[in-house]
């Protein structure tokens, strides 16, 4: 046996992508998906193979670039966290209509329980929406294998393939055995010259083809081996699991002797025949799936006229939050083994901005500047700076989705709110703030936009930021008047100066942009460490 690698689920996917012969990986960072791309970026083999690996401005640009690579005949991967699918949805849904040329896999990392997200949307729904095959691994090795299979499937059916993972597999390490490395594809244009031109006449034809392929997708899902039915002795209950829920099921049977019939699902669309078999042979069913009750709803239909089906909808398993072995035990009628409760002395320890973080000083100046107007006027965004909503700063009033700060401030200003302030990070600004800025400039909306430039994507671990050093140029290019663009230093020494600039710009009846610029403490420290290392190696 070859030596197993100890890989995070994310790393196993990155490793497999390299081994399966990708020519490019495109992504925008987002927990828990970031480490897939980081793995490929730091791989010497990927570098030697000239695999394009790096960050895109956002998930939509990433998805389209990956599709472009596929158009050119090569294999590509695109990775994002679940909410990234919303940003990339237009490209994603339409890529199902164009189909692919080179193999293409989209990895969406869901975050049930919202460990670091705004919602717990389930990407499998996107797969069904687009009528595309979905793969959902049970463990790290299966994740690795599925990437190889996924590229084969994608090239065989000439469709993109969606792979859905969740936080627990993304960020858990286990042994993974590699397969042989495959050559990258040669550059080759699509044979059908109309394939990628979605004029209605073409789209109508290709949509019919996509619909016709559904039977084939089900057939693949019943033959590839990721969906498995095991008959049990006790026909009182049949258990259906998807993805890692299977692990929680067998965890509760240390000898692995499960008395019930089990349908383990890892590939969609689920073949109807497999569902029918377990439904017909068991008295009742229990559905265990992380995320939305996708399979459960499918079985129940809207009227639920058949056998009892237990799961998230009838409360056998909580409606929200990720599964765990104990929740599954209770759903199976076993006892909960929960130990002693947490003693009352234990205080919560919420995450906070790092000591000395530049954001702290931007918000101190802002708080002082808006004090006279009162609360409720600061529209913010997603990033480290969102933590300013908590103690002790209490500086912001909204956080919805990436880019929403500028556009919500505009809408509120349109409604008559004054002053109306947007606070957005540098990476979030290039992700999806620029388009909102153009809206503001066009109507000369009275908004003050603060772009917190810490020269990195801090929240997700310090990836490079698309417009470092160029933010003021971008704003100017978008039409913000030069006299209303300011670059300030967010540190205690300049607090009063910064406060006064903000105060003055709040009064301006047009678009102003203030850019507090100082590097994130964490990336600065990392830079120092790396330089030291290089010195030593000299």
């Amino acid at each position: 046996m070859s030596q197993k690698l100890m890989l995070l689920g994310d790393e196993a996917i990155g490793r497999a992508a390299i081994d399966a012969g990708i020519s490019g990986i495109y992504a925008y960072p987002g927990t828990p998906s970031t480490e897939i791309t980081e793995y490929v970026m730091s791989s010497p083999e990927a570098k030697a193979g000239k695999v394009r690996a790096g960050w895109s401005a956002n998930e939509k640009t990433a998805m389209e670039s990956a599709l472009g690579m596929s158009y050119a005949g090569k294999r590509s991967m695109v990775c994002m966290k679940h909410v990234g699918m919303n940003v990339a949805a237009d490209a994603f849904i339409n890529s199902a209509i164009t189909g692919v040329n080179g193999g293409m896999i989209i990895v969406a990392a869901d975050d049930p329980s919202m460990h670091s997200s705004q919602n717990e949307q389930d990407s499998r729904v996107y797969g069904k929406f687009a009528l595309l095959p979905v793969l959902e691994p049970t463990n790290q090795q299966e994740a690795y294998n599925m990437v190889h299979y996924g590229f084969d499937l994608s090239e065989k059916l000439r469709l993109p393939v969606l792979m859905r993972i969740t936080t627990r597999i993304a960020h858990s390490r286990a042994g993974v055995e590699r397969k042989e490395m495959r050559q990258q594809n040669e550059l080759q244009l699509p044979k059908d010259k109309m394939q990628f031109i979605l004029l209605p006449a073409v789209a109508r034809r290709q949509y019919k083809t996509l619909l016709a392929k559904q039977t084939e997708l089900e057939k693949e899902a019943s033959q590839a081996g990721f969906n498995q039915y095991t008959e049990g002795k006790d026909k009182k209950l049949g258990v259906i699991t998807t993805g890692i829920a299977y692990n929680y099921l067998i965890e509760n049977y240390p000898d692995r002797n499960i008395p019930y019939s089990v349908l383990k699902i890892g590939q969609y669309p689920i073949p109807e025949s497999m569902l029918r078999k377990i439904y017909d042979t068991c008295d009742e069913l229990l559905v265990l799936e992380d995320g939305y009750p996708v399979v459960e709803e499918m079985l129940k239909g809207s009227l639920n006229l058949g056998k009892p089906i237990h799961g998230r909808l009838d409360g056998s398993v909580p409606r929200d939050g990720e599964l765990n072995p104990n929740l599954v035990a209770v759903a199976l009628g076993m006892e909960d083994t929960r130990g002693k409760e947490i003693p009352a002395v234990v205080a919560g320890r919420p995450p906070a901005l790092c000591k000395g973080c530049p954001h702290i000083f931007s918000f101190t100046a802002l708080n002082e500047a808006v004090a006279q107007w009162g609360k409720g006027r600061v529209f913010s965004d997603i990033g480290c700076y969102t933590l300013s909503a908590l103690d002790p700063l209490h500086a912001i009033d909204t956080t919805v989705d990436m880019g929403a700060s500028i556009t919500m401030a505009k809408g509120a200003a349109d409604a008559g709110l004054f002053p109306s302030i947007a606070v957005i990070g540098d990476s979030t600004f290039t992700h999806s703030g620029i388009t909102g800025l153009i809206d503001c400039v066009r109507e000369k909306s009275p908004v003050t936009i603060i772009i917190l430039d810490n020269e990195t994507t801090g929240m997700t671990g310090g990836q490079d930021s698309a417009a470092t050093g160029r933010i003021e140029q971008i704003c100017e290019g978008a039409g913000v008047e030069k006299d209303h663009i300011f670059i300030v230093n967010p540190s205690p020494k300049y607090n009063d100066e910064n406060r006064d600039i903000i105060k003055k710009e709040l009064e301006y009846k047009g678009v102003s942009v203030i850019i507090p610029r100082r590097e994130c403490i964490q990336t600065a420290l990392r830079g120092i460490k790396e330089r030291k290392k290089q010195e030593q190696n000299k």
Binding site: A174, N324, P325, N326
Partner: protein, 194 residues
């Protein structure tokens, strides 16, 4: 053989170095391993934990079930208590006594220690002090690992080997300091466990 270990601490305290060392020792012993980590938001001074599962057969869940952990290893005393619902009745708590205070409402330390001491199977060790005595404050985590060593079901020598491998590039002196730290923790645990 099965050992379910919860590692606890605060973001930035480097609990993963303990996980890596145990993991390497376990792999060299031919054992199966699963280790779930916390990434993202909770790294900024929030509480962090990692589930490390070792067994001589395949491991199912990435998460340790409630009431099944064999040991909680914590580099901070209050954090050792946060995971009590996971600890089995016979399980051990091995914790540093040095608090990491980055919140305004950190409880009185003696209140925290009272809760730790109320738990019969526990080792409470001032790892920071011992590491300082060794002239290497950074080696505190290895002191704690040493204190946990008697309960891991892994040969002590395997942990020593793992340290040699992990710190190999940093030179003999660093290796020796970490081996000494491991030993001091181990000796303390052997003298204090009932």
């Amino acid at each position: 053989m099965k050992k379910d270990i919860i590692l606890a601490g605060v973001g930035g305290q480097g609990i993963l170095s303990i996980a890596t060392t145990i993991g390497m020792a376990a792999l060299d012993a031919g054992l199966f391993l699963k280790q779930s980590e916390i990434h993202g938001m909770s790294q900024r001074g929030g509480d962090v934990s990692s589930n490390l599962r070792i067994a001589d057969r395949d491991i199912a869940s990435d998460l340790i079930p409630f009431g099944k952990a064999d040991i909680i290893i914590s580099v901070e005393p209050m954090e050792s208590l946060r995971y009590l619902p996971y600890l089995s009745k016979e399980g051990w708590i091995v914790t540093n006594t040095k608090p990491f205070i980055n919140i305004p409402n950190y409880p009185q330390l003696d209140e925290v220690m009272k809760e730790v001491n109320a738990y019969e199977n526990h080792i409470a060790i001032d790892a920071d002090e011992i590491a300082k005595e060794l002239g290497s404050p950074k080696s505190a985590n290895m002191v704690i690992l040493g204190a946990a060593a008697p309960f891991l079901g892994i040969e002590y020598s395997a942990l020593q080997q793992a340290i040699k491998k992990i710190f190999g590039k940093k030179g003999d002196e660093v290796i020796q300091t970490n081996l000494d730290a491991l030993q001091r923790g181990y000796d303390f645990a052997m003298a204090n466990k009932k």
